[in-house]
Symmetry: C2
Subunit: 112 residues, 2 copies
Amino acid sequence: MDNEAKIAVVHRYVEAFEKADLDIIRDIYAEDAVVEDPVGSEPHVGLAAILGFYEGALASGAKLELTGDVRCAGNTVAFPFKVIMPGMEIAPIDVFEFDDQGKVRSMKAYWG
Amino acid sequence: MDNEAKIAVVHRYVEAFEKADLDIIRDIYAEDAVVEDPVGSEPHVGLAAILGFYEGALASGAKLELTGDVRCAGNTVAFPFKVIMPGMEIAPIDVFEFDDQGKVRSMKAYWG
């Protein structure tokens, strides 16, 4: 998986929020993926749990805006962005780890 | 360990490069820490190996400059910065994970 493909996944992730499209989220993640958002909270384990989590997030009307370069390293990417919600903004750094099929098998969100 | 203490460690890390002071690095890391820089490369395991790695980095004259907020989450911090070397700049995101004693037990650098 080259850097271009990894960066494309990040842009599709932003698009999923832009369009409130859960199918994009479903396509990005592996069946056995683990999402920890924020790091230190109870992880969402497996695609069903992950989709439940994002269903709420997308329904909230949150939009994402990248605020810096997408960093590629090994089988991972890390990227800084803003989450823009009505009356609220947070500024996480997310790390995606990819499996051999190019699906995200681990997502960790650093904010608090 | 509160967020203020975690952010202070990040600033001491920047200071270590500013002053080319290996003692600060020695003080920041746990004895059994693991440094993976960049992610995907062979990790430096244990303080002795880590100090060897930083000895070279500090000797290169590299300086660090934070380029965004230090994000705190659980027992971790993530922060974007520039590494400024003669004729070269890179823009990593580093993630520190702290142990119960407030020492960094894991460092992962995302760039490539």
